[in-house]
Symmetry: C2
Subunit: 181 residues, 2 copies
DNA sequence: AGTAAGCTTGTTAGATGATAACATCAAATA
DNA sequence: TATTTGATGTTATCATCTAACAAGCTTACT
């Protein structure tokens, strides 16, 4: 699920347990088509397929997972194939790379290349993308005081999403059930 | 340069051009000794040496650079040697890993395992570590609204530090001097 | 001291992540 | 059509990180 939320700062919400994810994918692809057409970028079949695969997963996707899938589909696929497609998609603002986990997620609001702010749930692995102006503003203010000019922000917050907190509530001191291991 | 700054939110400042960095290193090692003694952790010769090497560089250090140095010193050193030491130092709160560049920096204020907020200068490569409560608070507020429980923050801001801005001032549209490559 | 337990390091091997360099092919343009 | 540019194929390699087991040290207890 990604669009038409009242809260404009949430570009991509955590994936709810039940939803027709195919619609997310097709919506994302349509947006991508439009965005590329508008800016004169070439969303080739390969690039489009990679984008589709990235969106196809609820959770961030690793480059080599994509590579494995492409390898099955195309009889041949080497790392550069996938990395080049991902590079293009990143520059086009269609996917984001999560540095803290070396993985990629579809961008909920393609268009301008914007800084991503991500909440990553360690329970279900899904990711929410925010665009909190307040956050960027606070960072800019801190940087300003040191005379630092901000170019790129990497903000990735790991934690537990609301759904996972409900299904695996925390006890007072350490979880009891899944404590082993 | 790392300590005794009036601004308590700056845990580690950008390295000034001229300073006796050996003092930074020895200060950091003393702090580490004290912290480990206090918390019953074993700062073995190997771990201490790795910490020293990390601090020895003004800029974030790559694991394989450490490995190369250790290899020269010890006649043998394999990746696990260095990664294990780094893991220990991270958990002890003595170094931070910068996910956006796969590198490590000494922590300016060891002790509790705190979230790092980093300003990374792409000019000189040096890093400042902040602890802006306002920033964490803003993040917590955004997370709160989504019912998200924050566990770990990865905040890495890339840009240009004050010194580098002075020495390579930006022109109106694109730098002229160092534009080629 | 003896010795068992647990932590630390050595060692080998390999998984995973990413890029360089050059060849080939397709699309856009002159 | 010829030329140029961009996209993809291909091979090779580098960089980052981890698993698994062996060996050595410390610690704590008898």
């Amino acid at each position: 699920m990604t669009t038409s939320k009242p809260d404009a700062t949430v570009l991509r919400t955590f994936a709810p347990e039940r939803h027709d994810h195919r619609r997310c994918v097709s919506t994302a692809l349509s947006k991508a088509d439009a965005a590329c057409t508008a800016s004169g970028l070439r969303l080739t079949p390969l690039r489009r397929r990679v984008l589709e695969l990235v969106w196809g997963s609820h959770t961030p996707v690793k480059a080599y997972d994509l590579l494995a899938i492409l390898g099955r589909e195309r009889h041949q696929a080497a790392p550069p194939t996938v990395y080049r497609a991902l590079d293009f998609l990143q520059e086009a603002g269609l996917v984001h790379r999560l540095a803290s986990m070396n993985a990629f997620v579809g961008c909920g609001e393609p268009g301008g290349t914007h800084a991503g702010q991500f909440l990553i749930c360690s329970g279900c692995g899904t990711v929410a993308e925010l665009a909190e102006p307040g956050l960027s503003k606070t960072i800019a203010a801190s940087a300003e005081r040191l005379g630092f000019e901000v170019v790129r922000e990497t903000i990735e917050i790991e934690g537990v999403c609301a759904d996972c907190r409900r299904s695996k509530p925390r006890t007072g001191r350490g979880a009891a059930s899944t404590a082993a291991k």
